[in-house]
Amino acid sequence: MPFLLFGIASIVFLVSRLTPGDPLITIVGERNLNNPEVVAAAKAKWGLDQSVLQQYFAYMKNLLQGNMGTSFTTRQPVVHDLWQRLPATLELTIYALVGGVSIGVTLGVLAARHRNKFIDHVARFFALLGSSLPAFWAGLLLLYAFYARLRWLPGPGRIDPRGVAPDKVTGFYTVDSLLMGDLALWKDSMMHLILPACVLGWGVVGIVSRLVRASLLDEFSMDYVRVARAMGLRERTVVNSHALRNALLPTITIVAFMFAFLLTGAVLTETVFSWPGAGSYAVDASRNLDYPAIIGVTLLGGTAFLFTNLFSDIAYAFADPRIRLS
C-alpha cells in the first residue's frame, strides 16, 4: 500500500516532466519567467538546476512535507486550495452515490425479476443511456429544460447567488445549514443539489443496475434459491431476503470503481453547474495550464481512489460471513 502511494507520486512526477519545454514553466508559470527572485527560489526548492534524479528527490521531500507547490491562478498553496474545495465535491459525490445506488439496486431487482419483459428493456435502456451521455452535455440540457425554461429548479451554483453560505463546520451546506437551524438555506442548498446529483448519479444507476441484475440472475440459478422455493417461500421473500443478500456482495467491490467514475463525472458536472469543488478546480487549472494545481488534483485523485479500494476490500470482508469468520 505505501508502495502504491509512492508509485502514484512517482508517476505524477513523470507526467509533470513530460513537458517538451523547460520544466521551469511548470513550476513558476510563464508570467514569472522574467522574475529572477521567483526563479531562484523555485530552483532552490525544487532542485531545478540539478539532475532529474535530484529533482525527483526534491519533489518527494516537498511532498512528504505536504507541499505541492503554489497555484499560478490563486497564488495560494495548492494544498490549501484543495482543502477548501474538497467539501463541495464530497457533498455532491455522496448524494449522487447514495441516490444512484438506491435507484440502481431497485432497478436491477426489477429487471432481474421480470427478465426480458418490458421493465427489463426499459431499465437496460436507462442504464446504457447513462453511460452514453456526456455528463457535461446532459447537465447543460437539464439546466436548460428545468431552469431556463421551466423554472422548476434553481440554476448553477451551490446556493442562490444572492445568498450567504452557512458557517463552516463540515463544509457540507446541507449539513451546516441544519446545524445553524436555517431551514430556508437548507432547502436552497438541497434544491441546488438535485440537478448536478442527478447528472452525476445517472452513470451510477446504470452500472449498479446492470450489476445487480446480472448477480441476481446468477443467484437465481443457485441451489439454495430452489430450496427456498420448495419450502414454500413467497417469490418476493426469496428475492429480497435470500438472493439479494448474496447478489449485493459484488456491488460492494464496485463501490471503489464507482468512486473513480464519480470523480470523473464530477470534473465535468462541476464545470457545467459552476460547482466550486475540486473538479472545477482541476478544469480551471487545465484551461490555465496551472501545472502545480493540475498535479495536485491528480495526486489527490489517485490517492483517494487507493483509499476507497482499501475501504471496499475491508467492507466486503466484513459483509461476507464466509470471509469474516475465517
Binding site: 427456498a228 419450502m231 417461500l233 460471513p321
Partner: protein, 330 residues
Amino acid sequence: MAGGAPILSLRDLRVTFPTPAGPARAVRGVDLDVFAGESVAVVGESGSGKSVTMLATLGLLPQAQVSGSVKWGNTELVGANVDTLRSVRGRRISMVFQDPMTSLNPVLTVGKQMTLVMKAHQPRLGKKELRAKAVDLLHQVAIPQAGRRIDAYPHELSGGMRQRVMIAMAITNDPEVLIADEPTTALDVTVQAQIMELLRNLREEKNLALVLITHDLGVVAGNADRVAVMYAGRVVERAPVLDVFARPQHPYTTALLECLPRLDLRKEVVNSIGGTPPNPANLPSGCPFAPRCPRAVDLCSAQEPVLVRMGATDVACSVVSDGATAGVSV
C-alpha cells in the same frame, strides 16, 4: 402396501425441457401413488428422470413443459397457480435436497433461514416464538447445542449437521410427505446411516410418508416399503421392497443388483452395466434399455413396453411379460 386412498397421486406425468438440441423428454409418463406413512423409493441412474419427476410435482421447474396429473388429495398441482403451490410446498409436501452445502444460503444464519420458512406459512408468530420453535426443531433432528447452533452460518457446520438443518426446515410445518432427493449421497458412510436413522425416527413419530430418491440400492434396502425403478423417464419396475431384491423382474433391475458388492457371495470383480443411458433429446425407438440389455430381442427395438402386473410386481419389459400389452393400474 398401506390401505386406503393415496395421499399423493401421479398419473401420466410428462416433463419436457426445451434445449438448443431439441426437446428433451426427461419424464415420459410416470404413474405413482404415495400412501400415508409409507416409504417409497424411486431408484435409477443419473438422467433417469427421478429427480425431475419429484421437482415437477412441486412445480419447481418453471422452464419445463409439464403435463399429466399430480393430485394432492383433491387438488390438482400440475398447472396450478403459485398460491396453490405455495400452500402445498413446505407445508404438506416438503423436499430435502442432495447437497446441503449449496442448498443453504451461505450468508444467512441457520436460524434466520429456518425463521423465513416458518414465517412463510405462519406469518403471525413473534420473534421469540420463532426462535423457540427453531431451537426445538433442531433438537428434533438431534443437533447438539441447538441454542448456539442456531446462530451459526452454514459453512461452520459439518455436512451431516447441514443435512439435519435442512430436514428440520422441511418438517417445520408438519408435512405429510417428505421427498428426499439423494439425501445422503454427499455425505460420509457413517453419517449416511445417522441421517437415514433420523428419517426413520421422524417417520414413526409423525406418520410421515417418505419418497426416497436414490441411485444407491443399499440405502433402499433398509429404508423403503416399496420401490419404483426408473429408466429413461419411465417406471420400468414397481414392487414391494422384498420382491425387488429377491425376485427382480426387469433386466435393468437385475443388472443394478448385480452391481452391488456383496458380502455373502464370493466375487472378485465388481460389475457394471455396459453402455450409457440414452440422451433424453434423442431417444431410440422401442424400449430405451434395449441397446444395453442382455435379453433384448427384435421386438424390443420396435415397440416400447408398458407396465404389466406379474404377481406383486409391475414390470415394463416385452421379454418378461411375453409381449403383453395390457396396461396396469398403479
